[in-house]
Amino acid sequence: MDELLSPEQLLSSLTQIEEAFRSDIAKVATLADLQQVRAKYSGKKGLVTAKMKALSSVPDPVQKKEFGRRINELKNFVEDSLKGRELLLKEGEQERRLLTEKIDITLPGKSVQFGRTHPINQVLSEIKDIFVSMGFGIEDGPEVELDHYNFEALNIPRDHPARDMQDTFYISDDVVLRTHTSPVQVRVMEKTKPPLKIIAPGKVYRCDADVSHTAMFHQVEGLMVDTDVSFGDLKGVLELFIRSFFGKDTPVRFRPSYFPFTEPSAEVDIGCVFCKGAGCRVCKTTGWLEVLGSGLVNPRVFEMTGYDPARYSGFAFGMGVERMTMLKYSIDDIRLFYENDLRFLRQF
């Protein structure tokens, strides 16, 4: 059959096969179609395979070589095309399968619902972090305290009008619920030699309750003692603290005041965070808000704890954490902190 064909005929039959293949493969839509096309051309009885077999019957070696080259080209072309086509078809099939596995990605994730930290403790941590970063240590002391540590050792003797400044809960004549965390300072001074740089955070108690007072609240008091501590140092440290906490452009002023355990004593005011100093209800139109009490440690307190006031000086300060928190989050009723309503607590 084929041996009867002239070389020209042979070559043109290859061209026909190639064109037929191009047309067939273009019509392939599925892997099954592809299988048929593969059988038709490169299967055992395929058209290209048949041409390969016919090669041996070409007598002229020159023609045979030329024919062999062409047939090989065709074979490679067919096989590459089939392979390429198969790859594309397989990808498509997988794509279709993945689509059937599709999920609604907008369904909620299974998240772990964390609880929240009480806002007072969040702010307390922030305050502690600022002072710790300035090299202050943290000290703790009893909440039920001896009158001696809460008052006497802080230069507030019995029958002194300064006792009126703090409404006190009594357990007995000699034992009170501490009205400030200052007794911690005294206890630390009794057992530690200067220099000293500490803060004492914790709960304190006053028998007083209204929109701005609760029977219990939190204070952070601080103390720094060394051989050359001045009022200028007090200003430097507290200004740095206030700017860290309220923002670096916060106006700060120091105003003389009175505390029995410091002298000179200073109230520290910041520019009102609500009206920016213009005057509003919260700052009683003054443009300033009181945030800290402070002063140079009264040498009498040093004498009572065994520090030599001729050699050492120091400053102390104290602030109410509730007040700081109220200013930070614009909270107008202090009692919210102790109602522990989850709708409140989860906001922080």
Binding site: L107, I138, P161, A162, I171, D174, A215, V237
Partner: protein, 685 residues
């Protein structure tokens, strides 16, 4: 204290606005808390600190204004001129330690009547109501103006026209001006006439000797009473007056004579009468207290560089006399400044008049503290974060509890939670005990939130409790308490873990976080917990807390209006817990050879606890067993009644080679035999 700006201007020629005066006074330590316009006048609300009784008057504020602005002070007429008849009243001080000076003047033949309008207006602006009695109004006027309390007696009612200042002694009572009968105690200082007590010294006059519209002859008192004595008496009687307020803070023993004269002159001016000679008993003379201070001490303590002249000028402004002694100065405070007693009082005067704002701020150069963050602080922080991340929100409660709380929880007698301490003066009876457990507060928080419609209530608190152990102060223990309640939370992704185990998971997380091992859960005998769903948390044979579902009887008493709630509570002693924490962690080498895992499922009696099986498995001695993990717990279909199935995954590993299959098979088979025999169980089919 209220201060009229117009009145103030009679004492000092200040030309700047009231606002400016208020600002400068505030910055010098006299805080002006408010300003109110009254007609053409401005009234200041001044916050006077307890150390500055000298500022409790118009004169006192005027002195400060004069000092701050460097202006001279103008004084009213305080000299009684002309020839006066001798006093008709005699004065005797019996307790001179409590009354250092007592002066008085008789004014005979006065006309009692209404006060002039200007005087009434001033009283009213400063918050004192006129009593339509010129004598009483004038004593109040002088009190406001000069800061010295005065008292007017009806001289005709003084027995024997005698005044005697002595303690109450035995069994005395007095009816005070306000009509109240006052029980007196032994040490209270009284003013007596020839027979009876006529006033509580420095606090309030007696009704019997008081001035009324029929009074013709008065005896005016101006005295100095010892502050502590007045304060004790005022507190004991529960009677706080304008007089006692000033006496207990300290008055001016020299100036009191001027106040007496000023009042006498005003009485004469408005009610006529004849002013008699002063009677002056003055047994304890005022002694000046010179204070010495070095100039460079002032500068080093303030952080300033003031020169000598600046310091001396500043002190003179506040009425302090100074004598320069080269490196230091001697400062003598005026008698009205009893707060200036030490060098640091002088320091304060310099600082506040110079201006705190002018003192340069600096960052201190000091040594660092040791123990910047104490380890307990860090540990508690980690525990708090762990609990929070398992879904609990932190609460803070008052440290108080109600006695009935312990009844609700059926805390037995003898339990340490019954050893509470009590507040003598609670705000509310419900808040009279200091907490010995955090549970009552958490139950309150739970009820509060539940009643507001919240159905996912997971709360915890870390706070101290207070247990009376017989010492002077109670033992303070740091506790962790929690409450867990989630009512059928509808959710896309189901989680059917029972509440008890979710909460227990939180407790286990704390142990894991703190790397504390070996906790066990043993049946609890807490009466407020569900008998079958509660456990004591035990570590190293020490009970450190409990966890469990609230007993139905307690839930019932809470009256929650929801049916069969599963409320799980826990409480742990963190001090004990942390004392058992390892001091340090040491790294263990990561295994180099692979592990082989084998599972075993056992069907056994349901009364055998999983912890028991676990401990039996862990006790089996083999060098190859690395870990045992419970991964299934099942009761129900295919498992006989009264039985349960527990499945464990055993991890085998050798540290020096890869185990062969036959080695693993061998040890696993022996372990299976062992555990079946130990538990009396069977392999699950």
């Amino acid at each position: 204290m209220k201060v009229s700006f117009d009145w103030l201007k009679e004492f000092v020629d200040v030309t700047v606005s009231p606002q400016e005066v208020a600002h400068r006074l505030t910055m010098a330590g006299l805080e002006i808390e408010g300003m109110e316009i009254v007609g053409s006048d401005v009234v200041f609300e001044v916050n006077v600190t307890p150390n500055r009784p000298d500022c409790l008057s118009i004169l006192g504020i005027a002195r400060e204004v004069a000092a701050v602005f460097g202006l001279p002070l103008k004084m009213p007429d305080m000299v009684v001129k002309g020839v006066q008849t001798e006093s008709t009243v005699t004065v005797e001080i019996a307790d001179s330690d409590l009354c250092n000076r007592y002066t008085g003047r008789s004014i005979l033949g006065v006309t009692i009547g209404d006060s002039p309008q200007w005087l009434k207006n001033r009283l009213e602006k400063c918050g004192i109501r006129s009593l339509n009695n010129n004598i009483i109004d004038i004593t109040n006027y002088v009190l406001l103006e000069l800061g010295h309390p005065l008292h007017a007696f009806d001289e005709d009612k003084l027995h024997g026209r005698k005044i005697r200042i002595a303690k109450a002694g035995h069994n005395r009572s007095i009816t005070t001006l306000d009509g109240a009968d006052r029980e007196l105690s032994y040490d209270m200082l009284l003013i007596w006439d020839g027979k009876d007590p006529v006033a509580v010294a420095g606090v309030m006059g007696g009704e019997g000797s008081s001035v009324n519209s029929d009074t013709r002859n008065i005896f005016l008192e101006s005295a100095y009473f010892e502050p502590t004595s007045v304060r004790r008496t005022s507190k004991a009687l529960g009677l706080k007056t304008e007089s006692s307020y000033r006496f207990e803070r300290g008055t001016d023993i020299i100036f009191l004579e001027n106040a007496l004269n000023r009042a006498a002159l005003l009485i004469e001016q408005t009610g006529g009468g004849n002013i008699h000679q002063i009677v002056d008993a003055y047994p304890e003379k005022y002694v000046e207290r010179p204070v010495e201070i070095a100039y460079d001490r002032i500068n080093s303590l303030l952080g300033t560089a003031l020169n000598k002249a600046e310091i001396l000028e500043t002190l003179q402004r506040v009425g302090v006399r100074t004598e320069d002694r080269g490196e230091k100065c001697i400062a003598i405070a005026p008698p009205y400044r009893r707060d200036i007693r030490e060098y640091y009082d002088i320091l304060e005067e310099v600082a506040r008049i110079y201006g705190f704002d002018r003192i340069p701020a600096r960052i201190p150069k000091t040594a660092l503290s040791d123990g910047i963050l104490n380890s307990k602080e860090v540990s508690v922080g980690r525990i708090k974060e762990t609990v929070r991340k398992t879904g609990f929100t932190e609460v803070i409660n008052y440290s108080f509890m109600n006695g009935t709380d312990l009844e609700l929880l059926s805390i037995p007698a003898g339990d340490s939670r019954r050893s509470h301490i009590e507040v003598m003066n609670p705000l509310r009876q419900e808040d009279s005990l200091m907490r010995t457990t955090l549970l009552p507060s958490l139950l309150n928080n739970f009820r509060y939130n539940l009643s507001r419609g919240t159905r996912d209530i997971r709360l915890f608190e870390i706070s101290k409790i207070f247990v009376d152990e017989g010492g002077q102060l109670p033992k303070e223990k740091l506790m962790l308490g929690g409450i867990f309640f989630r009512e059928n939370m509808p959710s896309v992704w189901k989680d059917e873990t029972p509440s008890f185990f979710t909460a227990k998971g939180t407790v286990d997380c704390i142990f894991d976080e703190m790397k504390i091992k070996g906790q066990s859960y043993e049946p609890s005998s807490e009466a407020f917990l569900h008998r079958g769903k509660s456990a004591d948390i035990v570590l190293d044979s020490v009970r450190i807390g409990f966890i469990g579902e609230l007993a139905p009887v307690v839930v019932e008493k809470l009256d929650l209006k929801i049916s069969k709630p599963e409320i799980v509570v826990f409480e742990m002693d963190l001090d004990k817990f942390l004392s058992l924490a390892p001091d340090k962690l040491t790294y263990v080498q990561i295994p180099r050879y692979p592990a082989v895992e084998r599972d075993i499922a056992i069907v056994l009696d349901e009364d055998i606890s999983s912890a028991k099986v676990m401990s039996d498995l862990s006790a089996y001695i083999s060098g190859f067993i690395e870990g045992v993990e419970l991964f299934d717990h099942y009761k129900g279909k295919n498992i006989p009644q009264g039985k349960k199935s527990l499945a464990y995954r055993i991890t085998y590993r050798a540290s020096d080679r890869t185990l062969t299959d036959s080695e693993v098979e061998d040890v696993h088979a022996r372990l299976v035999d062992y555990i079946l025999q130990k538990t009396g169980g069977q392999l699950r089919a």
